[in-house]
């Protein structure tokens, strides 16, 4: 319908991400837009408030590169491997310089949901007898108007920019995902601006053939960036696997500030984008991440009704 929103990653980040913005690159283990994170590093954005349930390696890299002033999160680790060492360096001891704003997973999800739904708060049954409300005054008790007790509330989170990665979208930004959905829908609806990065640009007819598969409509999308392998070392259901080797390799690199800087130089600053990154990874590495076989969903019939 609307005009094409297809843009290069460089232009999308240059236009839509400003110094000081609250930026959410969302995707729970699945579909993490490392490509967007690297471009933000490359364009040397500063003072960003980075929101993500699981900061993961991408925010560890972004924090190491100095783009962030504050982190809003719920789980700060390298799953199955250990800690996020660059972030630990600026959050431990007397030198802690990165501001932390901490929730639980459901609290973060509820914050995005409240943001998407334009609600002043979202109630949830968490945080009872936990120290989290003590250290985060934005987690507040609220009494039920039906006299049946008190629960906790979290405030809406409305990022200036949300970036999500997806299997496919059309040029207007109508976006479809299968596999883990995380909180991308809520994070996108909650945001002022949305960048969708896709493995594949498809015709509008592909989207309209299966409207139940659409998670974000183009009307909330500002730019569509076509970036195959854009989620590596995260993964894309049906396309490529999680690169667990990379997650393990990052641990020793990130423990050493010099090694971290060298990695950023080699894999981010010195490359002009994701195509170069994929080429540098090499065909053999990419091939090793292909699924071991296909697992087709089957088709359903919506029926023609004239």
């Amino acid at each position: 319908m609307s005009g094409s929103k297809v843009a290069s990653m460089r232009d999308a980040i240059a236009t839509l991400v400003c110094d000081g913005d609250t930026v959410a690159i969302e995707g729970f283990t699945h579909l993490i837009s490392f490509a967007a994170g690297h471009e933000i590093i490359r364009q040397r954005r500063r003072d960003l408030v980075l929101a993500r349930m699981t900061p993961d390696l991408i925010y560890d890299q972004m924090v190491a590169a100095g783009v962030a002033r504050r982190l809003i999160f719920s789980w700060l680790g390298n799953p199955g491997v250990g800690g996020l060492n660059a972030i630990r360096r600026v959050t431990e001891g007397a030198d802690a310089s990165l501001e932390l704003e901490e929730y639980s997973h459901f609290g973060m999800v509820a914050r995005y949901t409240a943001g998407a739904a334009n609600l002043p708060f979202m109630p949830l049954r968490s945080y009872f007898e936990s120290d989290l409300p003590r250290v985060n005054p934005l987690i507040r008790p609220i009494a039920s108007p039906y006299g049946d007790g008190t629960v906790y509330a979290v405030p809406p989170l409305k990022p200036d920019v949300t970036v999500i990665h997806a299997q496919r979208a059309d040029a207007a930004g109508n976006t479809q995902v299968w596999g883990l959905l995380g909180c991308q829908k809520e994070a996108a609806f909650a945001a002022r601006r949305v960048i969708v990065v896709v493995e594949e640009l498809v015709d509008e007819a592909v989207i309209r053939a299966d409207p139940n598969r659409t998670i974000v409509p183009g009307i909330v999308v500002d730019a569509v960036v076509v970036e195959p392998w854009g989620a590596h070392p995260s993964y894309v259901q049906g396309r490529y696997d999680r690169d667990n080797r990379f997650y393990r390799d990052w641990d020793p690199i990130s423990r050493d500030p010099a090694a971290t800087d060298a990695w950023l130089r080699e894999w981010v600053y010195d490359l002009d984008g994701r195509a170069a990154y994929a080429e540098k990874l090499g065909q053999e590495r990419l091939d090793s991440l292909r699924p071991s076989g296909s697992a087709p969903s089957g088709a359903v019939d919506y029926g023609e009704y004239r």
Binding site: H30, P79, H105, F106, S130, L132
Partner: protein, 268 residues
């Protein structure tokens, strides 16, 4: 086959302490219907249970998967293998709101960095919150799991640094200051969860007694009570009928070594 695996359960036990811990944790899941799988050690314990004592058990991953049938053990709790062939994939909003908070989870299976005698858990910081000695991952889903899952299982290695008299930060509530207070508060505030019921360590199996404190019910082969006391920040309740944990079976060890963790990520 076990050559070179450190920390064996006994001189000639043929299995490691970690393997014993994982096997013991898996067995505790017998008869459970719906289990919420936490990151790390819970992940391998639950996947072992699914292949042994609890084949009918539904695995729920906070990433938004119900009825997962992972063909391999995922390193992370979000992985394409937990999706392919699953019963249902949902948004995380629906997973946390409808499945967990809605009361469908029988067991929430968690790991921890620090735990106290009442099963209160710290996964946030070691030291002061604002100037921590060690910054840990934080809650993830643990805080709401601890409150809403019908019961909580914990798996973690025992050490004087982790089994402490006072945890530095209460991320996820257990039995609070004891059974009486915990039951009153849970009732008054309408929690669905009854709290922690099992803690499996590399030394033994703890359940919770009527005071709400951990009680050592099983001691793993090769572990001693002295070792237990030396890795604990308080004087433990020990069951009058303390029994040895049955050693891992060949099949349990085969599943761990050949199928679930061939690289020894969890069992080192």
């Amino acid at each position: 086959m076990t050559a070179g695996r450190p920390g064996t359960g006994g001189a000639d036990a043929g299995f490691t302490k970690s393997e014993m811990m994982i096997v013991a944790a898996a067995r505790e899941l017998a008869g459970q219907r719906v289990c919420f799988v936490g990151v790390g050690l819970p992940n391998i314990a639950v996947n072992l249970a699914k292949r042994t004592v609890a084949p009918e058990m539904e695995l729920v991953y906070e990433a938004g998967v119900f009825g997962a049938r992972p063909a391999r053990l995922p390193l992370s709790i979000g992985d394409p293998t937990i999706v392919t062939g699953a019963t249902a994939v949902t948004s995380m909003w629906e997973l946390f709101a409808y499945y967990l908070q809605g009361g469908l989870i029988d067991v929430g299976f968690l790991g921890a960095a620090q735990i106290d005698r009442f099963g209160n858990i710290n996964t946030t910081v070691i030291g002061d919150y604002t100037r921590p000695k060690t910054r840990l991952p934080g809650s993830g889903g643990a805080c709401e799991i601890a409150i809403n899952a019908r019961q909580i299982f914990v798996i973690m290695r025992q050490s004087a640094r982790s089994f402490v008299d006072r945890i530095d930060f209460r991320t996820s509530p257990g039995n609070l200051g004891g059974a009486e207070k915990s039951e009153r508060i849970r009732r008054e505030q309408g929690w669905l969860g009854r709290g922690p019921s099992v803690v499996v360590t590399d030394l033994g199996i703890w359940h919770f007694d009527e005071t709400g404190e951990m009680r050592l019910d099983f001691l793993h082969p090769g572990a001693t009570l002295d070792e237990v006391r030396a890795t604990l920040g308080w004087a433990p309740h020990v069951s009058a009928s303390l029994a040895p944990t049955p050693a891992p079976t060949e099949e349990e060890l085969r599943l761990i070594r050949d199928e679930l963790d061939p690289e020894g990520m969890y069992t080192k």
